[in-house]
Amino acid sequence: MEILGLLGSGLLEAIEPLNLALIFIGVTVGLWIGAMPGLGSVNGVAILLPITFLVPPGSAIIFLAAIYYGAMYGGAISSITLGIPGASTAVATTFDGRPLALQGRASLALVTAALASFVGGTVSVLLFTGFAPALASVALSFGPPEIFALMLLAFATFVGLGGDDIPKTILSICLGLVLAAVGYDEVSGAPRLILFDISGFLHGINFLVLAIGVYGIGEMLWTIDSTRGSITMSEAKLTVKGMVSDAKEATRRGWKGTTIGSLLGFFVGVLPAAGATPGSLMAYGVTKMVSRNPREFGQGHPGGVAAPEAANNSASTGSMLPMITLGIPGSPTTAILLGGMVIWGLTPGPRLFVDESEFVWGLIGSFYVSNFAALVINLAFIPLFIWMLRMPFTILAPMIFVLSVVGGYAAVRDMHDIWLMVVFGISAFFLRKFDYPLAPAVLAIVLGPIAEPTLRQSLLLSSGDPMIFLNRPVAGPITVIAVILILLPLFKVIRNKMRGQKMAA
């Protein structure tokens, strides 16, 4: 009851005129920043942090949290409408969001994304309200072996359930992981894989360089080649009746993904150094794994949009939990928020709930209000996004190329990476022609910087014994599932051969 009372006062604080106005402004700004390729919540929060010194700390964090929420919603927009992931958190949304848009069903994808984000945000806020301190301690018990096992599971779902050529899928995953290893060895600090001794590789390869190259350039070249450039991007039409029907379909086909994404996303978000990106990618993989029709994923399944969108919103709330309760940021954006809190004179940590309860519950209240505001604003903007899609392809295509180059530069600020993006784009075009799946490579370059250190730390803990991934209570079952998934195609081949022999007999 005490919690409900505190939450009630927090909600009342969130709907004070100044705070409510800041929530709506923050969500709208965040939505557009998130929708811009190359820019994500981290840019929005970092850039607008100085502005928050004009208002009290409680209102300031509410404004930044609203930007964070808005950007999480916005990331899906460019993934669906343009086929370019706006941020790493929206990479998985591209896998099914873009095929839906190309089928003229962008409205369904956008409505699914909005609803799933809302549910994900709501579930996470409920979990946050009820279980904050307990979950923070569970998250801390997750060590490197458990996190690496989770990463392995994410890769395994692509191999076991991808439906693509298995050697090409594994090659794609390994290529993404190797590209993620370019730059410096984190342990020794020595330069590593400086390809062709080009100094531009010293700072590594940002995942956006590969993601924008693959989706913004390669995929567009493939579309132009396969359609001879004589198509409109989408025949999407939008009516109120159509949106209601889309909402029904999104609920019917996306509920499972939304549920998985909401719960999994929150928990992965809570893990220190994980955040919304692995959360969304894993939610996609697990939803595909438990689906009755996993082969429909990647072809335009609403569940493939719902899972990552619910997860990235849920994770964005989850990642606030270790920041507030322990003072450990779960993502780059929360790291900036943490910096802001310190500047405002607040000390994040276990005492914050006691010493600054008004601030904490006002923030939690603002999560509820921001989530609702984001849903309303997002749905209101859908007609505009659909209108963009109905532009002639010969206008939309150069705009996408321009956004790819400008967005890529905004993220990395290095011309070497822009050239690399073009090389990746043209290579992706040819690889796509030969049926190489490229989504696993993008997944791998995003998760690689988490997977490698956790593997090395685990092996160091066990003095090189790989059994550490099997004999721990949490890591063990996850690793076993991952191994089964990796071996699944082999089982299928053996089963088909045995069936063939029986038929012949």
């Binding site: 594994i170 321009v402 180059v405």
Partner: protein, 167 residues
Amino acid sequence: MRRGEIITAGILALLSIYMMWKSTELEVGYIRGQGPGGGAWPFWLSAIMLICTAMIAYNWVRRTSPPSQSEEPVLDAEGRRMLIQVGGGIVGFVALINIISMYGAMAVFLFYYLWFLGRHSLKLSLTLSLVSPVAFFFFFEGLMRITMPSGMSFTQPVFNLLYSIIY
């Protein structure tokens, strides 16, 4: 497509070998007390890539993958023309950035695509080519405080004028 499939696998095999060799600049085995060496992760991943290319080649010999069964060309004449015009346009766009600035290159690329490839009217092509870079300038430089490449020194008077508006 059939020939292209094996050539692609060959190129990827060479890339894998190159990355394996490059990884050996750091220790690729297990170092007692330090864990796996810095080169171990990329080395073994590249080795798996190499094995995958061998499997792709094996499937090519057996003609089990769709591209290994297809006798169609990878790119027909129309496809080659598209790749040169569109792909070349993107390369030209990026090449121009350090000469006439990001915004100048953007204007040239948009005009090239809209007017030459898209066959849109001169009025529409010019309008979009000039308005878009200005809009991008105010968004990135004014709102987001992200500075884009301004090209060679001859573009400075234009930038000075624009900066005087936002600062």
